[in-house]
């Protein structure tokens, strides 16, 4: 968890030549038996691949950055590095300011616990204190429109309620850097609108936002800048309209040529 600093850094997120290498072991010795049999036969075969490859990125304060790319292009890995979940293999990552260090809304929610208990647990997991979370409990419940369900175990929630609560917790705690990863797919239109209103409020407050989505209109409408990832590298960086257009033409070339 990074603490807020008195000095305002112009670039809350700064990555220099960051590489995240994964070792894919074809016959991984998951159990001792496999280990012994593999030892007898041959050394484990593996190949390395870079999920994020020599990537450099600077995100200025107050920017809403859209991150797009095909499945497997390294979006999630990039976010996990920024959130501090992965320690990259090489390169330098500097994060200035508080950041909700969770990559998926509702990570850490437990279905046997009530909504109220989950709010507290989720907040503590993100590094906030009990006191701070109790203070924010009511606004979170209000925003998520959970009502009396707040004291019911989470397993009885609908998936919409689950997402609303998760979004409310992640944003109510007021981080300097907000990571929004594909969350808006679940809520209904009314709640989506509410989420974007909140995101816009964050933007007006000068927060930095990373927004991952496969919905290109959302990227164009809300982001100041977009990057397109392919094989772990940034292949396009700039105006959301241009970057999404490029992405669409790469993904569906036959459509693009027809038009």
């Amino acid at each position: 968890m990074c603490n807020s600093q008195p000095i305002q850094f112009p670039f809350p997120i700064r990555m220099k030549h960051v590489t995240q290498r994964f070792r894919i072991i074809h016959e991984r010795s998951d159990t001792l038996r496999a280990l012994f049999t593999n030892l007898l036969r041959q050394p484990a075969r593996y190949h390395d691949f870079n999920a994020v490859n020599d990537l450099s990125l600077e995100v200025p304060r107050g920017q809403m950055l859209g991150v797009i790319g095909a499945n497997g292009s390294g979006k999630s890995t990039l976010l996990k590095i920024i959130a501090g979940i992965y320690k990259p293999t090489s390169g330098k990552t500097e994060i200035h300011g508080t950041l909700a260090p969770l990559i998926e809304l509702g990570a850490g929610f437990h279905s046997e616990l009530t909504g109220r208990e989950n709010i507290l647990l989720n907040g503590l997991l993100m590094g906030y204190s009990r006191e701070e979370m109790l203070e924010r409990e009511q606004p979170i419940i209000d925003f998520a429109e959970i009502g009396e369900f707040i004291d019911v175990p989470l397993k009885q929630y609908s998936s919409g309620m689950h997402t609303r609560l998760a979004f409310a917790v992640a944003t109510e705690v007021n981080p300097d850097i907000l990571i929004v990863d594909e969350v808006l797919a679940v809520g209904d239109i009314a709640f989506q609108k509410k989420c974007f209103e909140r995101i816009d409020k964050f933007r007006r407050a000068g927060k930095t936002i990373l927004f991952v989505s496969h919905a290109m209109p959302h990227i164009v409408e809300h982001c100041d800048r977009a990057i397109l990832l392919d094989k772990g590298s940034i292949v396009a960086d700039g105006d959301p309209r241009e970057v999404t257009a490029l992405y669409c033409s790469v993904m569906t070339p036959e459509l693009a040529t027809k038009q």
């Binding site: 968890m1 994964f22 010795s29 998951d30 159990t31 001792l32 038996r33 280990l35 996990k80 959130a83 501090g84 979940i85 992965y86 320690k87 260090p101 969770l102 990559i103 998926e104 990570a107 850490g108 437990h110 046997e112 616990l113 208990e117 507290l120 647990l121 503590l124 997991l125 993100m126 590094g127 204190s129 009990r130």
Partner: protein, 258 residues
């Protein structure tokens, strides 16, 4: 070590919440809920008392107290270890999605079982009163062996939780190890029962010294000799230092294996 203390302190609220969550979920679906933490040792005591007072006679007066004074701390150790060995793998989903110091999970598993240990001392003291066994002032000494035992347990926990990330067999091995260890430790019997020429073997067992402190204080009303106290803390700290060093060495890689 310093890191362990700092992280434990700054994440104390999270560790406490995780420990309570563990207990809550353990007792969630039962009608009596939390009462089981008290009932479990109480019923076990009842069985022990009946079995050893009427059927098997070891010639040890108040055998139930003799046994439970060591069995309860042993249960704490064994349960902590069996829960904590899975604590990293079991929280894999969380570790993959939230950046949080990994050590909070094994620590929380130990804390939740420590709460159980404290609760189980209540029925034990009731049993002492019921059997009219003297209530020794040496009970006040119990925080010392409890501290040593918690430190020892944490060390073992870090070691096995780390190993289990890489080889899931470890969780099964721990179960076998624990039951063998149980019989090679003077729990249901006293060290005096062992032939003198064999005793050196039992003295290599690192948990013997700390458990001995519990029995002396509760059953005999005596304090251990300082050598025994020193040995219990030496075993505890060596285990913790080794266990935590291993954990720390590998903790950044856990996310790739869970």
């Amino acid at each position: 070590m310093k890191e362990l203390i700092i992280v434990t302190y700054s994440y104390r609220e999270l560790i406490w919440a995780l420990a309570l969550k563990e207990l809550k979920i353990r007792y969630k679906r039962s009608v009596l809920g939390f009462l089981w933490a008290l009932l479990n040792p109480a019923l076990m005591m009842l069985v022990m008392t009946v079995v050893f007072a009427t059927i098997l006679r070891f010639g040890i007066p108040h055998y139930a107290i003799f046994l439970l004074s060591v069995l309860l701390p042993w249960t704490f150790f064994a349960q902590s270890l069996s829960y904590a060995v899975e604590s990293i793998v079991g929280n894999g989903d969380l570790i993959k999605k939230v950046s949080v110091p990994k050590m909070v999970f094994p620590v929380a598993a130990v804390v939740s079982n420590a709460i159980n240990l404290f609760l189980s001392l209540i029925p034990l003291s009731l049993l002492v009163l019921l059997l009219r066994h003297p209530f020794y002032s040496t009970w006040l000494y119990l925080p010392v062996p409890i501290l040593a035992l918690v430190i020892f347990t944490l060390g073992m926990t870090f070691l096995f939780a780390t190993a289990n990330v890489y080889y899931r067999d470890v969780a099964h091995i721990v179960q076998v190890l624990l039951s063998a260890w149980f019989y090679f430790t003077p729990i249901i019997y006293a060290l005096d029962f062992i032939p003198p020429q064999m005793r050196w073997l039992f003295k290599l067992n690192p948990i013997v010294y700390v458990l001995n402190g519990f029995r002396l204080a509760v059953y005999y009303g005596m304090l251990p000799r300082w050598q025994s106290i020193a040995a219990s803390f030496a075993c505890a700290f060596v285990t913790l230092i080794v266990g935590f060093a291993v954990f720390r060495r590998y903790q950044d890689e856990f996310v790739f294996y869970v």
